[in-house]
Symmetry: C2
Subunit: 217 residues, 2 copies
């Protein structure tokens, strides 16, 4: 048991080291030696857990998506109205992107299409399904215009969020990300919400904080 726990600690240290090395040097330039040094483990210990840089990168993406998606699941379980849940999900991922180096690295590895032979699609599919379900529920709850197609809405919100965080990273090192996500929902709300519900819902974008609530993990 102690041995297993120690192995898990080493594996997590390698994943965090890889996240930092990828962030500083880019995936292409970071070597296995760089990752081992960043994680303070020997190359031997690293190769005990991972066979290649590609495998480490996929472990970073997996851990990032686990963190982001389980934070999302906790929000969904609160049972709030769907439109509020959607905004809180975007706020949660934006906060993780500002504070958590593994989330930063995992999302960047996902959006840098050239890194892998096949682009990483599963995280998008998970979020698309989630937002399609939420949009359908938002229509039932009367908070989203009934003529809108839930799949179409999901296929716009998820890519939009993807682009907003990418451009924020590129132009501002993500310093304006929370503000941009709040603006995103300020712009989208009149497009989604029926006119007679707008006054009741128009302050929802303020659910996106302008400074992150959670400290870096």
């Amino acid at each position: 048991m102690v041995k297993q726990a120690r192995a898990q600690i080493t594996r997590d240290a390698i994943i965090l080291g890889a996240a930092k090395a990828f962030d500083r040097q880019g995936y292409g330039m970071a070597s296995i030696a760089d990752i081992a040094a960043e994680a303070s483990v020997t190359k031997g210990a690293l190769y005990f857990h991972f066979q290649s840089k590609d495998e480490i990168a996929h472990a970073v993406i997996e851990q990032q998506h686990d963190r982001s998606f389980s934070a999302g699941a906790a929000i969904i379980e609160e049972g709030l109205p769907a439109i509020e849940t959607m905004i809180r999900l975007c706020a949660s991922l934006a906060e993780q992107l500002v504070t958590d180096p593994i989330v930063q690295a995992g999302i960047r590895l996902t959006t840098d299409v050239s890194n892998f032979e096949r682009p990483v699609a599963d995280p998008y599919e998970d979020w698309l399904r989630t937002f399609e379900t939420l949009t359908a529920r938002g229509i039932e709850e009367g908070d989203i215009v009934a003529t809108l197609d839930p799949a179409m809405i999901a296929h716009f919100i998820i890519p939009s969020f993807t682009g907003v965080q990418l451009v924020s990273e590129t132009l501002a090192g993500r310093t304006d990300l929370l503000q941009r996500v709040r603006e995103m929902w300020t712009i989208l709300l009149p497009a989604f919400v029926p006119a007679d519900r707008y006054d009741a819902l128009k302050d929802l974008p303020q659910l996106v904080p302008t400074t992150p609530a959670a400290p870096a993990s």
Copy 2:
């Protein structure tokens, strides 16, 4: 003169070869030898024009942005209403992304943040300025809600388009890109257009064709 023209032809062939090599192998994996082979030039000829892969990549981005931005300038010069111009600009870039290998490679090099030491920001800045100006004109023309902030709108449209094309590439090899850009404007129009102008403008998203008009260059 002949010599100069021949040098330009070689340079263009290298840029096109690099675009294809980056597309197939990714920027990180494509070697100078791969690019020379794809361009059917010798490595010596390649090094006469470019000192490094990094320099070639920036030339690809520059040529892509020139093509995309000059196609955009031609649309702006038509003097159409601003809201229509904005939709046509998105349609034009989407069509280039479906048909033109240099545009495909240039955009991917721009969005793959890890490729370069400093992320590529200039193309975003050019498009942000353009869309901010157009949004301000759209407000003057009465087609965009006067309370919306042009900078905020531009800072949402450009990232949204960036994400829509990125996710379309990742999930569908861009086969659904034109449809997704049309849907983007179908969703955004009610958010931007004053209620009393909506009926007159609601068919504008159909300006985005669902099959590309221009053949590959």
